[in-house]
C-alpha cells in the first residue's frame, strides 16, 4: 500500500507545483517604443545615431577615404590618382543588386523617418523638441542629396515605409521635385536649429550648417538643370527652373553672409596669417574655428581615429594635374597666359613663384619650407615617385594641402586630423556663382566673396574687378561669360582637392569639355634629372615615368584603354544605374539614361 501512497503523493506534488506564469517570459535586456519616447533626452539619443550612421556621415576612417583623396578617387581633371578612374573611362558596369541602391543604402532614411513618426510622443515644449527635429531634417536632406547626385530622380518618403506603402511600388519623382522637398526640409531645419553664433562648439548640427547645405543643394540643382538643358543632355529636367534654385542658393548663402556681418560668425579663419591657408586643413580641432561650420572630430584617447592621412607624406597615391596648377592666377590676378609675373613651369620653385599664394600652400615645393615631419626637421625635396604600391604621387605636383608635419598622423589608425564637412569659404563661392548665374552679381558681391578669399591669402594686388577681367585664352568654358569662368576658377582653386570637383563638372554638364578625350598631365619631368641629393631609387622611378611630347609626366600613357583619353559616356555616365533586380521588383522604376 505504501508504494501507491508514495506514487500518488509524488504525482500530485509534481503536477501542482508548476505555476501558470511559467511560460510568460519577457525580454530582460530590451527596450521597445512603449518604454521609450518620453523625455527630450530620448530624442537626443535617437538623433545621435544619425551622426554615427555611415550612410549619412561616412566615418572616413580607412586609408584612401579622406577629403583630399576623394576627387582623385572619383577621377577628376584636377586631382589625379595613380590609376585611371574606370567610371570616367566609361568602364562602369550595370549591377544586378547593390550599386548604392540596396536596402542598407536606404536604411538611413528609414531610421530618420522612424524618428519623425515617433518624436511627437514626447511631451515637452517645442523649444526643447524642435532642435532635434531640425537635426533629423538636416540629415534627411543629407541623405537625399547624396542619392540625388548618384541617381537623379528618386522616390520620396517622409514617413517610415511599410511593406504595403504605395511609395514602395511607385515611380520615381522627378529630381526637381525631390530637391523642392530637400529644400523644404532644410527650411524647417534652419528654423528649428540653434545658431552657433555666441555659443560654444557642441559638435551638433547648427543653423549655419543647415544654411550651408541648403545653399549647396540649391546651387547643385540650379546649375544641373540649367547646363544639362543648355547642352541638351539626356539628363535635362522637364519643366526645368534652374533660376528658382539658384535664387534659393543665393538667399541661403546670403543669409549666412548677413549673419557673418551682424554676429561675427561665421567668418574666414587665418586672414593674413602666413601659411594660413595650409594651416586651415591640417588641424585636429576646429572647435574655435569660425570658418569650419561642421566637422568631425577624432581622438586617440577615445580610439576614434583614422588612417586617411597616413600616406600624405608620399602623396597619398595622387597629385594635382598640370591643368589644375596652370589654373592658379599670378599674383597680379592675371592668368599665366597673360601675366608678366609668370615664371614658367620648368621647376616647382618656378611654378609657385609670383602665383596665387594658395598654390604654394597646396603643393609641395623644394624650398626648405614645405615640411615633411616637424619631429625630424625634414623638408620636402623630391616628389615620392619611388614609393611603391599605390601610395606614391602620380604627377609630381605632390599635394601639400591637408598634410601635417605631425608624425603621429602617419601611424596606422592613429591619425586624428579633423574632417571638414562645411566651411564658410564654400558659402561665399556659392553666393558668387549663384548671383553670377542669375546675372545679379555686383562688384560689392565680388568683394565680399571672391576678393575676401584672395585677401585672406594676401593676394591683395590681384583682386577681381567685374569691369576689368583679363581675358584668358585657356578659359575652361570659353562659351560662358568671363565672370563665370573666373568664379569657377576661384572655386577650383579655393576648394582644390576638397572633393567638390567631380560634382561641379557633373552639374555643369562639363564632362565633354574637361573629361572626354583628356588624359591628365603632371609636372615637367626633366627638372629632376640629376637632381642634387636624389636617391638612386628616386632616379630609377623617375626614369620609368612616361612623358608626353612636351616632356610633361603623362601617367596614364601606358594604358592602352587610355590611349585616346577618357572615354566617358556622355549619354550615360552622369548618373549611376539602378540595379536591375530593383527594376524587376518595382516595374514602375525606370532605368537611368543610357543604361
Amino acid at each position: 500500500m505504501k508504494r501507491y501512497i508514495c506514487t500518488w503523493v509524488s504525482l500530485f506534488v509534481l503536477l501542482t507545483s508548476c505555476n501558470d506564469d511559467f511560460l510568460e517570459r519577457s525580454p530582460l535586456v530590451d527596450i521597445s517604443d512603449s518604454d521609450y519616447w518620453t523625455t527630450v533626452n530620448d530624442l537626443r539619443l535617437y538623433v545621435n545615431n544619425f551622426y554615427n550612421d555611415d550612410g549619412l556621415l561616412p566615418s572616413r576612417r580607412a586609408w584612401g577615404t579622406g577629403p583630399y583623396t576623394i576627387d582623385a578617387g572619383e577621377g577628376s581633371d584636377t586631382n589625379v590618382p595613380t590609376n585611371y578612374n574606370r567610371r570616367m573611362n566609361g568602364e562602369a558596369t550595370l549591377p544586378s543588386s547593390g550599386g548604392g541602391w540596396s536596402a542598407s543604402d536606404w536604411a538611413p532614411l528609414r531610421n530618420i523617418n522612424y524618428f519623425m513618426d515617433h518624436y511627437p510622443q514626447v511631451q515637452a515644449t517645442s523649444d526643447e523638441v524642435l532642435p532635434y527635429v531640425g537635426e533629423a531634417l538636416f540629415f534627411r536632406a543629407v541623405f537625399y542629396y547624396d542619392k540625388l547626385r548618384k541617381f537623379g530622380d528618386l522616390p520620396w518618403a517622409s514617413t517610415t515605409v511599410a511593406t504595403n506603402s504605395n511609395v514602395l511600388f511607385a515611380e520615381r519623382l522627378p529630381r526637381n521635385q525631390v530637391v523642392d522637398s530637400i529644400l523644404l526640409d532644410l527650411d524647417h531645419a534652419i528654423t528649428y536649429l540653434p545658431a552657433r553664433a555666441g555659443g560654444s562648439w557642441s559638435g551638433r548640427i547648427t543653423k549655419e550648417a543647415a544654411l550651408a547645405l541648403q545653399a549647396r543643394v540649391a546651387l547643385y540643382e540650379g546649375t544641373w538643370e540649367k547646363y544639362h538643358a543648355l547642352k541638351n543632355t539626356a539628363f535635362k529636367v522637364a519643366n526645368a527652373d534652374g533660376e528658382k534654385f539658384m535664387e534659393k542658393a543665393a538667399a541661403a548663402a546670403g543669409e549666412l553672409m548677413h549673419m557673418a556681418e551682424t554676429n561675427g560668425y561665421p567668418g574666414l579663419d587665418n586672414v593674413g596669417v602666413e601659411n594660413g591657408y595650409w594651416l586651415l586643413f591640417n588641424q585636429k580641432d576646429y572647435a574655435a574655428s569660425k570658418e569650419v561650420l561642421f566637422w568631425r572630430k577624432y581622438s586617440a584617447a577615445d580610439r576614434v581615429t583614422h588612417t586617411w592621412t597616413r600616406y600624405s607624406i608620399n602623396g597619398s597615391g595622387m597629385g594635382l594635374s598640370k591643368d589644375m596648377v596652370d589654373s592658379y592666377l599670378c599674383i597680379d590676378g592675371k592668368p599665366i597666359s597673360a601675366s608678366s609675373y609668370y615664371m614658367g613651369d620648368r621647376t616647382l620653385q618656378d611654378v609657385v613663384k609670383n602665383r596665387d599664394p594658395r598654390l604654394n600652400q597646396t603643393i609641395h615645393v623644394d624650398d626648405n619650407k614645405h615640411v615633411k615631419w616637424y619631429a625630424t626637421g625634414e623638408f620636402f625635396t623630391t616628389p615620392a615617385f619611388e614609393i611603391n604600391g599605390a601610395n606614391n604621387t602620380s604627377t609630381g605636383y605632390q599635394i601639400y594641402k591637408g598634410h601635417t608635419g605631425d608624425f603621429a598622423e602617419f601611424n596606422a589608425s592613429q591619425s586624428t586630423q579633423g574632417y571638414i564637412h562645411f566651411r564658410y569659404a564654400e558659402v561665399l563661392l556659392i553666393y558668387a556663382e549663384a548671383k553670377a548665374e542669375l546675372g545679379t552679381l555686383t562688384q560689392g558681391d565680388i568683394d565680399k566673396t571672391i576678393n575676401a578669399l584672395r585677401q585672406r591669402v594676401g593676394m591683395t594686388g590681384g583682386l577681381l574687378q567685374l569691369a576689368n577681367i583679363t581675358p584668358d585664352p585657356h578659359w575652361e568654358f570659353p562659351t560662358l561669360s568671363p565672370i563665370l569662368n573666373e568664379i569657377r576658377r576661384e572655386r577650383k582653386i579655393e576648394l582644390a582637392a576638397e572633393w567638390y570637383r567631380v560634382d561641379d563638372l557633373f552639374r555643369w554638364a562639363a564632362a565633354d569639355e574637361q573629361i572626354v578625350g583628356k588624359r591628365p598631365l603632371g609636372a615637367y619631368k626633366k627638372q629632376w634629372d640629376n637632381y642634387p641629393g636624389a636617391t638612386p631609387q628616386f632616379l630609377k622611378a623617375l626614369a620609368a615615368l612616361p612623358v608626353n611630347a612636351d616632356g610633361y609626366i603623362d601617367p596614364f600613357q601606358i594604358y592602352s584603354a587610355m590611349s585616346n583619353g577618357y572615354q566617358f559616356n556622355l549619354g550615360r555616365d552622369y548618373l549611376l544605374p539602378i540595379p536591375t533586380n530593383e527594376l524587376t521588383l518595382n516595374p514602375k522604376l525606370k532605368q537611368n539614361p543610357g543604361w
Binding site: P27, I31, L57, T82, R110, T163, A390, S560, N581, N586
Partner: protein, 1162 residues
C-alpha cells in the same frame, strides 16, 4: 572423472603463485608504467605461450602428459603412479599449458610448478580440502545443448554466471559442470544467441540455442524508453559506443562522422583545437532570415535529458547512440526536435558485478594536411606585375625589388629585406619592396605535434546498487608554430543506481567537464586569413632579428593570450517506482549548467626599426573578461505500462516535461594596462571601458504520450504525440499538438514466409508519418518583441563637444502573426536480415516538408530600408534515402565484417516570396545548392575572335586575348543576365549543384587470433564546388588573384594560367583590379568536383594472451596503432579540403594523426 573444459576458462589456482593482492597491484602498476614508457615493445610470450590443443576421452593422465610433452616440449616430472593412472576427459583448443594442467589436476590433491621447461608435481592435501569446501554446496550439473532443429552443438561455452568457472560441450553437445543451485549458467556460442538459465534444483539441463541474433534483435534506445529493433516502427539507427572508442579524435562529432547514415557532420572550425562539430540529420530544411539555407541541428538527449551539449562528452563514457530520424519517432519531443534526435546513453554498471577497471589512452602525433603551397617569390612577383600590367594598374614590384628577390633566391643576398634607403624613413621594406621567399603556411603550422588522451572507467555493483565512474583527460595541442594553441579537457562522470526497495529505485547521474582553449590573441583567429594574404616576399625577420611588422608574427607570438574555459555540469536525480508489474513511474530533475569564461589579453609588442628605435604594435594594450552562465533546468515525469496477453502486446507511456533555459552574461573590456604583462580589468586605466550584459529566458512545457501495440510480432503500430508550449510566442499561439503515427508489418513472422526464411531470415516493412514543430527557427527568445537598438558611448564613433554619446535606433520589422513552423515527415522503410543473419540491411525513403517555414518576407524594393519581417511564408521539401548494410562472417580463423552507410537527399523550394522569379534569391522549384552561371566557351584566341563573338560589354568594357569567352545561350548576340529571373536568365543557367550527394561511410573490420584491424572510409559521392568572386575574401584560395592587391594568395596551382606561351592554361588571364571579376564569373569551366573518399581511420590492434594477463591479473590488454585522415582521394583543387569546400578554404587545416594506445581492463 569425466571433465570437459573450454580453453577460455580463466582460473588462477596455482598455490605458489598466490601472491598477496598488494603484490599483484604493484606488479600491475609496474607493468602499466612500463607500458606507458615503452608503448610498443614487441611482446612475445614464447616461454608461456606454448599452447595445447587436445581432445581426449577418459584417457590416463600419463598418456595425456605425453601428448602435451609432444606438443610443447615441456618435460613432466612426477613419481606418483596414482597420478599417472588418473583418467581425464578434456577438449581444448589452443589453450595455455597452465590451463590444461589445472584442468587435469582438478579434484586431485596435487599442485604443480614450472621450472624452466620442466613441470614438477607436488602432493598437496590443502588444495583438496579447499576445493572440497567449495564443492560442498555444489552439485554436478549435466545436460545437452542443441540448436532449434535438435542437432547437438559442440564447443558451446557453458559458464557459471559471475564466476570464472566454465566448460565447453563435447561432440554430442554434452556438458558437466559443478554449480550451486542458486547460480545461473550462461550458454554462448558464436553465431547463436546467448542464453542464461537459472539452475534452481535442476541438475540436468537440456538447452536449445537460437540462431544468432541479427542486428534487428538489438535493443534500441528511443524517446523515453527502449524498444527492440525488430519492434521499431520508425526510422531509428543505433551505434554501439565501442565502435567509437580509440579513435584519435577529441569529440563525438568527429567520431560519428560517417558512422550513421544521413547523420551529416561538419566541423565548425576546421581542425582547430577544441573545434566543435555541427550536426544535421537528413539534410536542409528552410531558410534563415538572411536567406541562407538552414542546416538545423538535431535535438541531443543524454541519458533522457534533452538539450545537453554532446561535444564535450567523453566518448569513452558512451554506451550507445541512437538517431531518431523520422517525425513519428521524434514526435514525443515535440517542438524541440523538428530535425531528428540523437540520444546518447552513457555506461552503467551491473548489479552484483565485481569492479571492472578500464584504462585507455592514445598518444597522437598530428601533421597538417592539405596545406596550400605558396608560389616561389620571384614567380609571385612576376605574376603580380603581369596581372597589374593586364589591368593597367601600377606594378606592385619594382625592378629593384625583383632584382633583390632573385638575388635572395640565388643566395647573393642573405637578408629577407633591406631598410628603406629614402632619407628619414626609418622603416624596413615590406610587402612588394621586400625580397623574402616565404611559404606562410609552412611558417604558420608546425610539421608535427604531440597530443594525448587518457580515460579511466570503473564499473560494478553490489546486490542493490550499480555504478559507473568515468574519468577522462584530453590534451590536444594545435598546429601553430612559433607559438602554441591547445585544447585541454577534463571529464568526470558518475552514474549510480540504487534499489531502495524491491519496487523503488533511485538513480543519480552526474557529469562534469572542463574544456580550456589557450590561443594567441593578436591575429589568433586571423592567421588562416593572413596566411592567405601575405606575400612570399614579406619577410619573417628583419635583418636586425626583429619580426617584420607586417608579417604580424610579432603579435602572433608575443601579443598576449586568449584563454577560454567552459565548465559544464549535468546533474540528474531520478526516482523510479514500480507500483505493479509492468508499470513504471519515473520522475527526474536535471540541472544542466554551462559556465564560459573568456580572458583576452592584448599586449603591445615592439619591433625594431633600422635605427634601433622601437615601433609599437597593438596599441593600446587591452584586457577583456567575459562570463556567460547558461543554466537549463529540466523536469521529466513519465509513466509506462506494458502488458502481454494471447499474442497481443501493449505498451503505453504518458508523461510531462518542462524546461527552463536561463542565460546570463557579462562582458568587460578596457584599454591601457598599467603593466603590459598583467592582465586584469582592475589594472587598466582607459577612460572609456566597455561594459555590457545580457539575460534571457526560455520556458518550454509539454505533455506527451505513446501507445504501442503489436500482434504476435507481426503487426505493429505506434501512436506518438506531444502537446507543447513555449514562451517564445505570445499566449494565444503558444501551444500546439504534434502527432505521429507509425506501423510495421513483419512479413517474416507470417506463415507464408517459411519457404523464404532460410535465405531471407527477417523481413519487415515500416511506414510512418508525423508532424513536428520548430520553434528554433529564430535564435531570439523574444521574436515577438520589437526592440530598439541601443549603442553605448564607447561603441559610438562620433565625438560631440562633450565626447561620445550613446545612441539608439529603430527596431526591426516584426510580424505579430509569427508562429511555429510545422515540419512533416513521411517515411517508408524496410529492415531485413539474410543468409543466417549475416547480412543486415535497413533502408528508408523519406520526404520532409516544411510548408510554412519562416523566412525573409518577400524581396521588397530597397526603399523599404530594412529587412522585411519574418513571416511563415516559405516552404521546402527534402527527399532522401538512408541505407545501412552490414555483413559479418568468419573464414577459418578470420572474423570479418563490413558496414556500409549511404545516404542521399535533395531539397527543393516549395514556396518563397519571390513573385518575379528572381534567380538571385530563392524561387519556387529551385533545388538547393543550384548555382547559376555562364557556360564557358574558352579563352579568346585572337582579336578577330573578340570582334566577331557575342558582345560581352555588359560584364566589362574591355576584352582581350586570354579572357574568358562566354556562350551566348539565348542567341541574342549579347552576353547578359537578362532580367535575372528564371524565365529570362539571359545567358546564365544552372551550372552546378553544391549539395553533397551520396554521403557514405564504410567500416571494414577483421580479426585474426589476437590481431584486429579496422579501416574506416568516409566520403561524398557527388558534389560540385564553385568558388565565389563575390567579395575579395571569398575564393582567394581558388582564384589566387581576386583583384585586390592585399587579399589574394598565389599557390603553385596558379602557375597553370593563360599566357601567350601557355594558351591552354587552367586559369584565365589575371587582372590586378576589379576587372578580374569579368573572368571569374561563376561559369562551367571553374566548377570543381568536391566528391571525395577519405581513409578516415585505420586501426590495428593486438591483444595480449591470457596467460600473460593472468600474471598481471588483467582481463584485457590491447595495444593499438591508429591513423586518422590517412589519405584522401579527390579531384578538388589541392589548396582546399573537400570537407570544407563550400567555404573558401580559409580554415584551420585538418590533421593526419598517428596515434598509439593501449586498452586495459582489470
Amino acid at each position: 572423472m569425466k571433465l570437459a573444459f573450454h580453453a577460455t576458462a580463466i582460473a588462477s589456482k596455482r598455490p605458489f603463485l598466490k601472491q598477496s593482492t598488494q603484490l599483484k597491484f604493484i606488479m600491475r602498476f609496474q607493468f602499466f608504467v612500463g607500458l606507458l614508457l615503452a608503448m610498443f615493445i614487441q611482446v612475445s610470450g614464447s616461454t608461456f605461450a606454448q599452447n595445447v590443443s587436445l581432445k581426449v576421452n577418459n584417457m590416463p593422465l600419463g598418456q595425456v602428459f605425453k601428448l602435451v610433452e609432444h606438443q610443447t616440449g615441456y618435460v613432466f616430472l612426477y613419481d606418483d603412479v596414482r597420478l599417472k593412472k588418473q583418467k581425464v576427459s578434456l577438449s581444448v583448443q589452443n589453450a595455455p599449458i597452465d590451463q590444461v594442467l589445472e584442468t587435469c589436476l582438478e579434484g586431485l590433491p596435487v599442485t604443480y610448478k614450472i621450472v624452466e621447461q620442466n613441470v614438477l608435481f607436488k602432493h598437496d592435501e590443502d588444495k583438496l580440502r579447499l576445493q572440497k569446501a567449495v564443492l560442498k554446496q555444489q552439485t554436478r550439473v549435466s545436460g545437452t545443448v542443441s540448436d532449434s532443429l535438435g542437432n547437438p552443438l559442440s564447443g558451446v561455452n557453458v559458464a557459471v554466471k559471475g564466476t570464472v568457472r566454465g566448460v565447453v560441450t563435447d561432440q554430442q553437445g554434452q556438458f558437466q559442470i559443478m554449480a550451486s543451485p542458486n547460480e545461473e549458467l550462461v550458454f554462448s556460442l558464436l553465431g547463436y544467441q546467448k542464453q542464461e538459465v537459472a539452475l534452481a534444483e535442476n541438475n540436468h539441463l537440456d538447452v536449445v540455442l537460437k540462431l544468432a541474433l541479427s542486428d534487428l534483435d538489438e535493443v534500441v534506445v528511443v524517446g523515453y524508453g527502449t524498444q527492440k529493433k525488430i519492434n521499431l516502427t520508425g526510422a531509428v539507427s543505433q551505434i554501439d559506443g565501442k565502435k567509437l572508442e580509440n579513435r584519435a579524435v577529441t569529440n563525438m562529432g568527429q567520431a560519428l562522422q560517417g558512422a550513421v547514415s544521413n547523420l551529416n557532420i561538419t566541423s565548425t572550425n576546421g581542425g582547430a583545437p577544441g573545434a566543435n562539430s555541427a550536426f544535421n540529420v537528413r539534410g536542409y530544411t528552410g531558410f534563415s532570415s538572411s536567406g541562407a539555407a538552414l542546416s538545423q541541428s538535431p535535438l541531443f538527449v543524454v541519458d533522457g535529458i534533452p538539450g545537453v551539449d554532446i561535444n564535450t562528452i567523453n566518448i569513452n563514457d558512451v554506451e550507445s547512440i541512437s538517431v531518431l530520424k523520422d517525425a513519428a519517432s521524434a514526435a514525443i519531443y515535440g517542438s524541440s526536435a523538428p530535425y531528428g534526435v540523437i540520444i546518447v546513453t552513457t555506461k552503467q554498471g551491473n548489479m552484483g558485478e565485481k569492479p571492472t577497471i578500464t584504462y585507455n589512452n592514445n598518444i597522437m602525433l598530428s601533421q597538417p594536411i592539405n596545406l596550400p603551397k605558396y608560389m616561389r617569390s620571384i614567380d609571385f612577383a612576376n605574376l603580380y606585375n603581369e596581372a597589374a600590367d593586364n589591368a593597367g594598374t601600377s606594378r606592385p614590384f619594382s625592378d629593384d625589388a625583383l632584382q633583390r628577390i632573385q638575388d635572395y633566391l640565388d643566395g647573393k643576398m642573405t637578408t629577407e629585406t633591406i631598410a628603406n634607403p629614402a632619407p628619414a624613413t626609418d622603416a624596413w621594406f615590406e610587402w612588394g619592396n621586400a625580397n623574402a621567399n616565404n611559404d606562410w603556411f609552412d611558417i604558420l603550422y608546425r610539421d608535427v605535434q604531440l597530443s594525448h588522451q587518457h580515460n579511466l572507467g570503473v564499473s560494478g555493483g553490489t546486490k542493490t546498487t550499480k555504478y559507473y565512474v568515468g574519468l577522462g583527460y584530453n590534451k590536444q595541442n594545435g598546429m601553430y608554430d612559433y607559438t602554441t594553441d591547445a585544447y585541454d579537457r577534463y571529464n568526470v562522470r558518475a552514474n549510480l543506481s540504487s534499489a531502495i526497495t524491491s519496487w523503488m529505485s533511485f538513480n543519480f547521474r552526474g557529469a562534469f567537464s572542463r574544456g580550456t582553449i589557450d590561443s594567441p590573441t593578436a591575429e589568433g583567429n586571423w592567421m588562416q586569413v593572413l596566411a592567405a594574404r601575405n606575400w612570399p616576399t614579406e619577410p619573417l625577420y628583419m635583418p636586425n632579428g626583429s619580426f617584420a611588422a607586417e608579417s604580424r608574427m610579432a603579435g602572433f607570438v608575443n601579443g598576449g593570450r586568449t584563454k577560454t574555459t567552459t565548465d559544464k555540469a549535468v546533474i540528474t536525480g531520478e526516482l523510479v517506482v514500480n507500483p505493479l508489474p509492468g508499470w513504471n513511474i519515473t520522475a527526474n530533475y536535471t540541472y544542466d549548467g554551462a559556465y564560459y569564461e573568456l580572458a583576452k589579453h592584448t599586449k603591445t609588442v615592439y619591433v625594431t626599426r633600422p635605427s634601433g628605435a622601437e615601433q609599437a604594435l597593438y596599441t593600446p594594450n587591452a584586457f577583456q573578461r567575459q562570463h556567460n552562465k547558461s543554466q537549463h533546468y529540466t523536469v521529466n515525469l513519465f509513466s509506462s505500462y506494458e502488458k502481454e496477453w494471447n499474442g497481443h502486446s501493449f505498451r503505453g507511456l504518458l508523461g510531462f516535461t518542462q524546461e527552463l533555459y536561463d542565460n546570463l552574461s557579462m562582458n568587460g573590456l578596457n584599454y591601457y594596462l598599467y603593466s603590459n604583462d598583467i592582465p586584469a580589468l582592475s589594472l587598466t586605466y582607459g577612460a572609456s571601458p566597455t561594459l555590457s550584459d545580457n539575460a534571457s529566458q526560455l520556458a518550454i512545457r509539454g505533455g506527451f504520450g505513446r501507445i504501442n501495440y503489436n500482434y504476435k510480432g507481426k503487426y505493429l503500430v505506434e501512436f506518438n504525440g506531444r502537446y507543447d508550449g513555449t514562451s517564445r510566442f505570445l499566449t494565444d499561439r503558444r501551444f500546439k499538438f504534434y502527432p505521429g503515427v507509425s506501423a510495421a508489418w513483419v512479413l517474416s513472422n507470417e506463415s507464408f514466409w517459411k519457404p523464404v526464411e532460410p535465405i531471407l531470415n527477417v523481413f519487415k516493412f515500416r511506414a510512418s508519418y508525423g508532424k513536428l514543430g520548430d520553434q528554433g527557427f529564430t535564435s531570439s527568445y523574444y521574436p515577438f518583441y520589437p526592440s530598439l537598438n541601443t549603442v553605448s558611448p564607447t561603441s559610438s564613433n562620433f565625438l560631440f563637444g562633450g565626447g561620445r554619446e550613446a545612441y539608439i535606433s529603430q527596431p526591426p520589422l516584426i510580424d505579430a502573426s509569427l508562429t511555429w513552423v510545422t515540419v512533416k515527415t513521411l517515411d517508408f522503410g524496410a529492415d531485413m536480415a539474410a543468409l543466417k543473419n549475416r547480412l543486415n540491411i535497413s533502408f528508408d525513403w523519406y520526404k520532409r516538408t516544411a510548408d510554412d517555414f519562416v523566412g525573409p518576407a518577400e524581396a521588397f524594393p530597397a526603399l523599404l530600408g530594412t529587412s522585411a519581417p519574418e513571416v511563415n511564408n516559405t516552404g521546402m521539401v527534402t527527399k532522401g534515402i538512408d541505407l545501412t548494410v552490414g555483413w559479418k562472417d568468419k573464414i577459418g580463423q578470420v572474423q570479418y565484417g563490413a558496414d556500409l552507410v549511404l545516404s542521399d537527399y535533395q531539397s527543393k523550394v516549395l514556396r518563397y516570396p519571390n513573385p518575379t522569379g528572381l534567380n538571385t534569391t530563392w524561387y519556387k522549384g529551385q533545388k538547393l545548392g543550384d548555382v547559376w552561371g555562364y557556360e564557358t566557351v574558352g579563352f579568346f584566341g585572337s582579336d578577330e575572335e573578340i570582334a566577331n563573338a557575342p558582345k560581352q560589354d555588359l560584364l566589362y568594357s574591355r576584352w582581350s586575348v586570354g579572357d574568358i569567352r562566354y556562350a551566348d545561350l539565348n542567341g541574342d548576340g549579347v552576353i547578359n543576365w537578362g532580367s535575372n529571373t528564371v524565365e529570362n536568365p539571359g545567358d546564365r543557367r544552372v551550372i552546378a549543384n553544391t549539395t553533397p550527394r551520396y554521403a557514405f561511410g564504410l567500416n571494414l573490420n577483421a580479426a585474426y587470433k589476437r590481431f584486429d584491424l579496422a579501416v574506416f572510409l568516409q566520403g561524398v559521392g557527388k558534389r560540385d564546388a564553385i568558388f565565389s568572386n563575390a567579395n575579395v575574401w571569398d575564393g582567394a584560395y581558388f582564384w589566387g588573384i581576386t583583384g585586390d592587391l592585399y587579399t589574394g594568395m598565389l599557390t603553385t596551382e596558379q602557375y597553370d594560367r593563360w599566357t601567350p606561351e601557355n594558351p591552354n592554361g587552367y586559369y584565365p588571364k589575371f587582372y590586378m583590379g576589379g576587372e578580374m571579376r569579368k573572368n571569374s564569373q561563376p561559369q562551367t569551366r571553374y566548377v570543381q568536383s568536391a566528391a571525395y573518399l577519405r581513409i578516415k581511420n585505420v586501426q590495428l590492434g593486438y591483444s595480449l594472451p591470457e596467460n600473460i594477463l593472468r600474471a598481471i591479473d588483467c582481463q584485457r590488454l590491447r595495444f593499438f596503432v591508429n591513423i586518422e585522415n590517412l589519405t584522401t582521394f579527390t579531384k578538388l583543387l589541392k589548396t582546399m579540403d573537400p570537407e570544407f569546400s563550400t567555404t573558401d578554404g580559409r580554415v584551420y587545416p585538418l590533421q593526419r594523426v598517428w596515434a598509439f594506445g593501449v586498452n586495459m581492463t582489470f
